[in-house]
Amino acid sequence: MTNPLTAYIEGIGLIGPGLAGWPSSHAILSGQQPYQPQKTVIPPPELLPAAERRRCGAAIKLALATSLEAIAAARLDAASLQSVFSSSHGDGHNCHAICEMLASEDRQISPTRFHNSVHNAAAGYWSIATGAMASSSVLCAFDASFGAGLLEVLTQVVIDNTRSVLITGETEYPEPLHNVRPLPDALGIALVLAPQQSQQALAQISMSITNDAADQLDDIALETLRLAIPAARGLPLLRAIAQRKTTRVVLDYLDSTRLAVEISPC
């Protein structure tokens, strides 16, 4: 009934617990090296002007780090790219600080706290850092945020016939919100996608909607991570790319609506 959406992955960025960038995570995801969970380390946002660097929280730093890794791997200029940001939530620490102040006698939250509270804060800082003036879609679909982002970026790439970067990730909430949204740590994935095959293409992907069961990860710790952080629902796709096999993976999306992705290495 519907033709699959086909695009080429040209660059990958990955940061998470025990996953410090795509090159070093490659062997872990393909099963050649054991996975050893460690606290996520998010590099500082060198690209931001000093004033913005001081003001931004972990969610923004994570988005910058993963996206810039993916864009550098694709040997592209970020300023030329459309973008899709998809996350279950923004800066959890900032949200907590605002809610705490608003429940107190002194409700005078700071301007920086307020503009950092918008869901598109990362997209705003990213465009300031990169100079990208093209369209940016900023999405949220709770636990389905990776799938929602992948759908959006593929429709951008195919329908707008342009390159686009998907930037997806979450950071943890502090208490008391952590108790109601218990993300254990930060994890982000970025993918640069192109409508046509080029020299830097890593894999061709073709996506369609399915009700088939989602793929799980063999390693118990990685599978726990996949289920614990919304962006990690994309890890089976990265594993298939790391394995360099022609294969099909099914990714979690909404309830029984899932995304089937045919992958072939370039």
Binding site: T2, I109, H115, G124, A132, S137, A141, T155, N179, I209
Partner: protein, 397 residues
């Protein structure tokens, strides 16, 4: 682009529930802005509060979604036969072939703000009746809409601050063109909360009176709340002459500052030019512009520069914010519906509360309603983080 049909649409804001009340308020040039008595807010400001939101009972099976934002969403969905139209579309296309794209800035954050007042004194825990995922989370209002209709296709919240519910049209358009869905429920819902009231106050951007877009004395925004929805379908061969079509969309990013627009309106200009290009129209073919027009010094100045750069200074234009207030993530949806009413009824709404148009801005800004045929209207929506979206709507004939 292939044009899309807005087969049904509705809006609920402080000027009225549904299209009839909204149209009447526009004809009467009546503003819904009033001094703020919301919750415990102690700011000397005007707001656009929708009456009866908290009296709305969320359908029992979706009780976990109960919060002010989803109450307003349900109130909005139940006006103008909109819910029935969506149900009919589901019958026609299937529950998996109707997508949901809802813009919101703050979703149900008010629920969290209230829960923080009831933290456990010993442990600091939030109360047990607080449901994060179905209220606070940004997706909540899109997820509520999806469950309300029993939809199983793609669903997402678009949250790019004050451009959110303009940009939903773009995501839906691409997904329809890709053949993943046959129809889309698009819209925007945002409700009053302390985060935005005290947040905009911290930026010094709230007026102490009903906002006055493009006035010499303009001094800030009035925050409102609203729910607006449209059902998008592919344009059929035969159309009523007053059918409203989506003709073009333009999007851009300022890449300039988190909370100030580009001073020359560069991103805004790119968005308008992008929409014209996609619609294959010349600037002279736009009859009316519904401006973003927030009534801050910087927005109205930057938007004026952008509009005059693209359109010159003769195209009739106005801002709806003096009537509805700035409904933030719902503004794009509200103003899309106002454009649809302008097209169907040949009515360009005059901007309210403005007594002296700022001559430095150089726009043909309407203060009175103008009754004349409107074939094509452009709507601007801009937001924090430098996000811009322009939409062009047109009559079928």
């Amino acid at each position: 682009m292939d044009t899309l049909l807005l087969s049904h649409f509705t809006v609920t804001s402080c000027i009225g529930r549904g299209l009839n009340q909204t149209l009447t308020a526009i004809r009467q040039q009546r503003s819904g802005l009033a001094p703020c008595t919301f919750d415990t807010v102690d700011l000397p400001i005007f707001i656009g509060e929708v009456n009866g939101v908290d009296a709305t009972q969320i359908v029992p099976e979706l009780a976990a979604f109960d919060c002010r934002n989803n109450r307003l969403a349900q109130l909005g969905l139940e006006q103008d036969g909109f819910a029935e139209a969506v149900t009919a579309a589901i019958g026609k296309y299937g529950a998996e072939r109707v997508g949901v794209f809802i813009g919101t800035s703050t979703s149900g954050i008010l629920q969290t703000e209230l829960a923080y007042r009831r933290r456990d004194l010993v442990t600091g825990a939030l109360p047990a009746d607080f449901h994060y995922g179905t209220t606070q989370n940004t997706f909540s209002v899109a997820d509520f809409t999806r469950h309300y209709f029993g939809l199983t296709g793609p669903a997402v919240a678009v949250s790019s601050a004050c451009s959110s519910s303009a940009k939903v049209f773009s995501s839906a358009r691409r997904m329809m063109e890709a053949g993943l869905i046959d129809a889309a429920v698009v819209g925007g819902v945002d409700t009053l909360c302390l985060t935005t009231l005290y947040g905009f106050n911290s930026l010094g951007l709230l007026s102490t009176q009903a906002c006055r877009p493009f006035d010499t004395q303009r001094d800030g925004i009035s925050i409102g709340e609203a729910a607006a929805f449209a059902l998008l379908e592919r344009t059929p061969e035969h159309l009523a002459s007053d059918a409203v079509l989506l003709l073009g969309i333009g999007e851009s990013s300022d890449a300039y500052h988190m909370s100030s627009p580009h001073p020359e309106g560069l991103g805004a200009r790119m968005a308008m030019q992008g929409a014209l290009k996609m619609a294959n129209l010349n600037p002279a073919e736009i009859d009316y512009i519904n401006l973003h027009g927030t009534a801050t010094q910087s927005n109205d100045l930057a938007e004026s520069k952008a509009v005059t750069a693209v359109f010159g200074n003769s195209t009739p234009c106005s801002s709806s914010k003096g009537a509805t207030g700035h409904t933030l993530g719902a503004a794009g949806g509200v103003e899309a519906v106002i454009c649809a009413l302008a097209l169907q009824h040949g009515l360009m709404p005059g901007g309210l509360n403005t007594s002296e148009i700022d001559p430095a801005l150089g726009l043909n800004y309407l203060l009175d309603n103008r009754e004349q045929p409107v074939s094509r209207a452009l709507s601007n929506s801009f937001g924090f983080g430098g996000t811009n979206c322009s939409l062009i709507f047109g009559r079928a004939n």
